[in-house]
Subunit: 490 residues, 2 copies
């Protein structure tokens, strides 16, 4: 980032050093006053990227189109009003073809999947009764009897391994003003769970309970209660210690007190409701999947606005990272995920044990939540340095790569400042500041451990570079090389 500095007229010579520290050494030795400025060449000095940025900046017509498109994207995000309107099976909701399993992140074939996602797929095959054991499940996969597709392709969103199989009940979330729908399973909680890449008899029992007990009870409750306004709860959660990605303790409690009376009024038995509240009470991530389905419909409604440079989706499968930019439409950028070396590991684990960055949940950060709201969750301060002031500094930095702030999402510890909204790839490419994601870390190889840490992951900056090159190509800006890895959603 270029910092401008005005030299005040003085008798003595003053030098502003924007180069390496060493440049100033000689002058300092000659008693010349030197001010170091934290300056980096735009886009790390990459000539292609600089040429594109320059071309855009000199094209008033293009700039205007970009500005208008981005304005429309922001408007749509702010106008979104996602409501959970029903709970039905994934099979019915998504019209899944037979033997199809959805996963988080961009498309990936079985062999390339990371450990936890593989284990979760094997679990889901058994849960669906397509195989009796792991060997049987592997055989089906080897024979290509199972279709693996990204959640994203079905307007769905899955945290961590993000597995959705046909008989799982899903939240049906409608974006009221735009009429589009999004879907997410119920969160399984901590421990031996599919989303953490574990499958055992306990996992199976829980999945059955979710399908046969929780799902129908929630459906009955929503019918009596009416649509659940997700952002109403998110808004309050942000005032109560949640940043609404890694932490949903408050919002889960708010959902309980809002929804449970309707569940009882619907005639669900006291015993069942008791078990459901206990489940939610022990699972502070319960509301995560509500938030994610709401963010998904929000960002989908702001997607595919030509000329917009705003990020509308980020998701990972532990191997590849997918970046969606509104103006790229159905084209998206894929590249390797970051390693999880910024995370806080539980005792006994290190980054060596970790699967790569994983989950569709990073879409939260495109909508002013998670990392973009980290100062709402002082308990997550260890993620970014340890203190609230580190969180505030992070937010201030993120404001340099976003175009606006979210009108409804406010951070009490920053005097109700609104959260950064609208990640602009132009700003990221120029400044090299990347968004970060508040996330969990999974064990790569162990079939029993599950989560081994929490923390932040940084989005690889090269994805933004590639997105810019892809846009440049669409806008007929010619550069020396345009080797970006562009993919197309079918």
């Amino acid at each position: 980032m270029v910092t401008n500095k005005i030299i005040e007229s003085e008798d003595k010579l003053k030098v502003i050093n924007i180069g390496l520290d060493g440049f100033a050494k000689d002058m300092r030795q000659q008693d010349i006053s030197v001010v170091d400025v934290d300056w980096y060449p735009p886009a790390d000095g990459d000539p292609n990227l600089n040429e594109i940025l320059k071309t855009i900046n000199f094209d008033q017509d293009l700039l205007k189109r970009i500005k208008n498109a981005n304005k429309m994207v922001i408007e749509r995000v702010k106008n979104a009003n996602p409501q959970v309107v029903d709970i039905i099976s994934a099979e019915e909701a998504l019209e899944l073809p037979i033997h199809t399993i959805l996963h988080s992140g961009p498309p990936i074939e079985w062999d390339r999947m990371c450990g936890p996602q593989k284990r979760a797929v094997l679990g889901a095959i058994q849960f669906e009764g397509w195989a009796d054991d792991e060997d049987g499940a592997i055989k089906l996969l080897k024979k290509e009897k199972i279709t693996l597709l990204p959640c994203h392709q079905y307007d769905a969103v899955g945290p961590m391994t993000g597995i959705i199989s046909p008989s799982m009940p899903v939240l049906v979330t409608k974006n009221e003003p735009y009429g589009n729908y999004g879907f997410s399973t119920f969160n399984e909680g901590r421990g031996n769970t599919l989303w953490f890449g574990i499958y055992d008899m306990g996992t199976l029992d829980r999945l059955k309970w979710i399908r046969d007990t929780l799902g129908p009870a929630m459906k009955a409750a929503v019918k009596i209660h009416g649509p659940i306004n997700v952002f109403d709860i998110v808004e309050q959660g942000l005032q109560m210690g949640d940043e609404c990605h890694a932490r949903h303790a408050a919002s889960t409690a708010l959902l309980i007190k809002q929804l449970i009376p309707s569940m009882l009024d619907a005639g669900v038995s006291g015993k069942t409701v008791s078990s459901i509240i206990r489940f939610m009470n022990e699972n502070s991530h319960f509301f995560l999947n509500f938030t994610l389905s709401a963010v998904k419909v929000t960002m989908d409604s702001a997607h595919n606005i030509p000329f917009s440079t705003i990020v509308t989706g980020m998701s990972r499968n532990g191997v590849d990272f997918m970046l969606r930019v509104s103006g790229l439409g159905e084209n998206y950028i894929v590249g390797p995920v970051s390693s999880m070396d910024n995370a806080v590991y539980y005792t006994g684990f290190t980054v060596e044990d970790a699967a790569g960055d994983i989950g569709d949940s990073a879409i939260a950060e495109t909508c002013g939540l998670g990392g973009m709201a980290i100062a709402s969750a002082p308990s997550l301060a260890p993620f970014v340095g340890g203190s609230l002031s580190d969180e505030i500094e992070s937010i201030q930095k993120l404001n340099s790569i976003t175009l606006d702030t979210h009108n409804r999402f406010k951070m009490p510890a920053m005097d109700m400042e609104n959260t950064p909204l609208g990640i602009d790839i132009l700003r990221v490419v120029e400044t090299r500041t990347v968004p970060f994601i508040t996330t969990g870390v999974l064990h790569e190889t162990s079939p029993v451990v599950g989560q081994i840490g929490t923390g932040i992951s940084n989005v690889p900056v090269t994805l933004f570079d590639q997105a810019l090159m892809a846009l440049a190509k669409e806008w007929n800006i010619i550069t020396q090389s345009s080797d970006s890895e562009i993919h197309h959603s079918n």
Copy 2:
């Protein structure tokens, strides 16, 4: 507060002005550099108080006794572990004599009571069936057929008007390590409620519902659940936007998710549980009475430690303010309440409409909650200036009159700083900084309006002066006049 300032050696004359601004005027006109220091004479220069403070400061033996006593008080407060163990009628719990009604604040006769407390007493008499209407209730009072006593005298605590009548169910709160008990009714919520000084058919219906439905259901739930650890919930609430006096939104939600499963398991009908959750969902003060009973048993266990100068109780009845100091034992100080001119009034109301400062709830501030934790509740920032930094400044100021911080109560917006604990009357008398209370304001005369504002009230500094004089008398420190208004609990 005396601020020390070191004069750096310089050629030019510099003057430090600790007097009024005018003193410095002449010197400034002569181009002499003047630094104004915000200095006040200790105890406002009162010779008696200064003599007492000086005598104490020069008596090493006395100082040591005070220090040890205060250490013991703080230890007891920190060791307290208040648990709600049962719900029974006030009659049974408190062994109330017939036709007795308890109220907040120090003892007060009917004629001197403020408007809201009078109206609440009249309501309680009708609720108990001792009179059929208001006129009948007034007649009983005039004939002195009704005994009015402070909650405090029965180890009970009542917010705002603080009315407890025999058939009301009360929380029975036990302080595990010390074995003492405290009591509080259930919070009625907002609107036409006794604690706000309103009594109508809706109030009566609600009181009956609390007695016949909520109370028994809660009792059944606690029996299955086991004791409710109040400070576990308070601790979490402080992390979620509550300061646990004026705001209990999070802690109420936490209680719901923790306790309701046991209520269902106890066989309470779905319809009843549904109505209870709805009631709690609409009443973000619900947990207040849990907090207060817990604070009451805590501070009671730290009371009556000879030589301690720490405040163990503050309560008001809209007319008089009662200050309890541990070392004063059963003697307490009474003086007029502050007017509510620091409050934020609802549209259409002013301080002219307000009853005086009221409620036993100010005991929260003696235990590191409420005003002492205001930076935990950024939503209350308008109480102290509007921004979080005002809240933080308030806490920093309060740290100058407290001897320690509460080990369990932390403020996320202050990087988990612990809340100020142990209001020391010596420090208050010397510095003139007084604790403030986060509170509501009631209409003095209207039988229908109820709450007309929220905000802070300052504890009158003269009460601390009188407490010091009372202690001085006990310690045989002779001063010119010792006209403090000391009262004795029976």
